[in-house]
């Protein structure tokens, strides 16, 4: 935690990155026609979320208990998504 404050990049720098990524994703959505832009926009969203989680929520420096409380639900959401997919996504067949 203290490590995050002292050795990590300054908070304002992370904020600048976040703003730039947000503006880029809006820009991408305006110039590239849908649905081709979807992949780029979601990659940018994941990057933004990762920045907030790693630097603002200090996930970078937490121990295994906190990591489990974040990554296990995340993995389960993925399991859930692909488990539901064959039923809800009728275009698959």
């Amino acid at each position: 935690m203290a490590a995050a404050e002292n050795h990590g990049p300054k908070n304002i720098v992370i904020w600048a990155y976040l703003v730039i990524l947000a503006l880029v994703s809006v820009f991408v959505s305006l110039i590239i026609p849908s649905p081709a832009d979807t992949v780029v926009i979601f990659a940018l969203a994941i990057a933004k979320a990762a920045l907030v989680l790693m630097y603002f929520m200090h996930l970078r420096v937490e121990n295994i208990f906190i990591h489990s409380l974040f990554f296990v639900p995340l993995a389960l959401v993925v399991v859930m998504f692909f488990g539901f997919m064959p039923d809800i996504n009728h275009w698959l067949y």
Binding site: E5, N11, A22, L23, A45, N63, I66, F81, F84
Partner: protein, 195 residues
């Protein structure tokens, strides 16, 4: 784990303060709630006849402004945490005030959007997209509101004499929750405005 090596405290700890473990527990449950919502949205979106016509009605400008508002409030609440570390009450109050103001601004802009939609007759029963739109932003809005309430109550207790020393550490708990609400919006924005 050897017993004899334990320090002479009353309890054995897992290395995380109890309150923080509690907040992360809460966030874990929220990840599953929003995970269920987002998974349902994406799966039905991929199946359905395409909702591009509906999404057109959402103002990318207002959505982008709200995104920037929440991102900035995330930054300001990190500064609150820094202020608590430094024991700087004035900075604490200033940045917490900014965070609360930005949260309220988000809700106001959201309200403007809602009134525009309702004016145009775009209600939850209009189509599945609008059902999801109101369901998801409504659920998220309730979380923003809860965060604002938590932040205000922290600001109030910290402003009391000796409040910073006693309650200042709660800024981390409020911050974690507030960031999580921001992360949810980071995914809602592209899904509901750009997709």
């Amino acid at each position: 784990m050897s017993v004899e090596s334990t320090a002479s405290t009353d309890t054995m700890e897992a290395g995380v303060p109890a309150a923080k473990l509690g907040v992360w527990w809460f966030i874990a449950s929220e990840i599953m709630v929003f995970g269920g919502v987002l998974a349902s949205f994406i799966l039905l979106r991929l199946t359905g006849p395409g909702w591009a016509g509906d999404i057109e009605h959402n103002s990318v400008l207002l959505g982008s402004i709200n995104t920037l508002v929440l991102l900035t409030s995330s930054f300001s609440i990190v500064e609150v945490l820094a202020a608590n570390k430094a024991g700087d009450l004035e900075k604490f109050k200033k940045y917490m005030g900014i965070t609360i103001a930005l949260g309220l601004l988000f809700m106001v802009i959201k309200g403007v959007e809602y009134s525009i939609h309702i004016h145009e007759g775009l209600l939850p029963d209009k189509s599945l997209f609008w059902a999801f739109y109101f369901g998801m932003t409504g659920l998220h809005g309730l979380h923003v509101l809860a965060g604002i309430v938590a932040n205000i109550s922290l600001l109030v207790v910290v402003s009391k004499p000796g409040g910073l020393a006693r309650y200042g550490h709660r800024s981390e708990m409020c911050g974690l929750y507030w960031h999580f609400v921001d992360v949810v919006w980071i995914f809602l924005f592209p899904l509901l405005y750009l997709g």
